[in-house]
Symmetry: C2
Subunit: 286 residues, 2 copies
């Protein structure tokens, strides 16, 4: 593996940042990994688990780093990237892992040619350093949304980073990224939060419901256990694209409600059959 | 294990029926397992996989059986149970595994005291004999909805059967069963079918979406790969209860849409935090 960083600052040692640090260490791709986290208990745990080699403030972690990975909640990314950039050398590369790119990341990329906006499309419903894991990015895609003034060397370094972690790198326009991720990731979260809430309301009427959920319930609602703060940020930052996908979704909920209400057996069977085929096709593209 | 059946007829050797037969065989609880299936290729596969010991018609499988397990699509259960009952001895016990109980199963139970309506709350998105698996029912619940005239010995035999397969048996009123399962199982399927359809519609506008689905998409839409015919029957047979749950769901979708549209950050974070807690509580009851 040709890519190697001497000093990597990971800002936000949670599920994603922690997994990046863990994997860099395991693959021997980082000389030293410095963790930064406002949550001191989480940072201590990252140290204890060996996910990072040392803990530091943002300023001292950034100083001397050749790579800064910003993995804080989406709304805080711009401020953290700008502050980190103030302390790094001019040759350092900065990147983030935020789920929303759009105008904010684009503006940041224009302002800072060494910043490469990134989004590894991977995760679990868990959060914090304890949730960090090996192989989280292997076989997944990582979307990069460089701007017109993004430095070519910085882009190559971030591409090498993600490919070394096993991801397939895809370049995308940031606005396009947000529309696509609204549909394939943010909409499912909204639908599942609403579903969990509806089942919860029903469980108050029929308490024997609790504990009856089988595999379908468990898998379908898994992402409702995700980090509330991160998902608040995603919905606030990607509001328009999410509302566009939600409009399509609400239309489909009306459609299936109509098929059920009218007792349209052939229509239901055709619809379900098409979804089985569609899902197989969507997964094949992976 | 005290329960043992000499001759078990399994009608419909799919995911559920096949898993019952497989488990009975593996645990040595059945002298002989006779498979019945209108799908000849599926029945041949069940034989080849050793899930059943022989293949037969419904009439000859039922003759001499001390237990008949009916695991056909929900809409066909009443006719199959009645036909099987015509051919069994007066001491034989009949049961089914249908996801909808309600008035149809209740009427059948009144008419046939040796028929114990059952519903193992377990499954995967796969179907057919090839999807049969060990331990599918272990740690799950199996709901029985006996009627006022159900034979005590028959009920005990079916309870013993499911407990031997590792399930916790729960007795429930059939109407109540349908309301509860509409919320915890049928509603998630409706929501996920609509979600898959919406994502599919978006993928036509943004083709790069295909293949981008990560764990959240994969798990959330898993049940959209379920058997279309079975789910058509479930929605047709449990229409009123499903519509009741769907009304609650649509209300929650409107609520989350409103929170996103108005950019209500504290409201979103509170909502998501509550769902994380709620889901943990719902799973704890398992």
């Amino acid at each position: 593996m040709s890519v190697r960083f001497e000093r990597v600052a990971v800002v936000g040692v949670g599920l994603i940042g922690g997994s990046v640090a863990m994997e860099l260490g395991a693959l021997g791709l980082a000389g030293r990994r410095i963790g930064v986290d406002l949550d001191e208990a989480n940072l201590a745990q990252a140290l204890e688990l060996g996910i990072v080699d040392e803990a530091a403030s943002l300023a001292s972690a950034a100083a001397g780093a050749d790579l800064v990975v910003v993995a804080v909640p989406p709304a805080e990314i711009p401020a953290v990237v700008l502050e980190a950039a103030e302390h790094t050398s001019p040759s350092a590369v900065l990147t983030d892992v935020g789920s929303v790119k759009g105008p904010v990341a684009a503006a940041l990329a224009v302002r800072l040619s060494r910043f490469v906006p990134g989004h590894p499309v991977a995760g679990t419903e868990k959060s914090g350093a304890a949730a960090a894991m090996r192989d989280l990015f292997r076989g997944r895609r990582c979307i990069l949304t460089p701007g017109p003034t993004t430095d070519g060397g910085a882009l190559a370094a971030v591409r090498d980073l993600w490919e070394a972690l096993g991801a397939e790198v895809v370049l995308m326009d940031p606005q396009r990224h947000d529309l696509v991720c609204a549909a394939v990731s943010h909409l499912p979260h909204a639908a599942v939060y609403a579903l969990t809430s509806a089942i919860g309301a029903c469980s108050e009427r029929w308490p024997e419901l609790v504990g009856l959920g089988a595999g379908g319930f468990i898998d379908t609602t898994r992402i409702a256990s995700s980090d509330p703060r991160m998902w608040r940020d995603v919905f606030l930052l990607n509001r328009d694209a999410v509302l566009e996908s939600l409009a399509v979704y609400r239309d489909r909920v009306e459609e299936i409600t109509r098929l059920i209400a009218t007792g349209d057996g052939p229509g239901l069977e055709r619809f379900f059959g098409e979804m089985k085929v569609l899902r197989a096709r969507m997964l094949q593209g992976r």
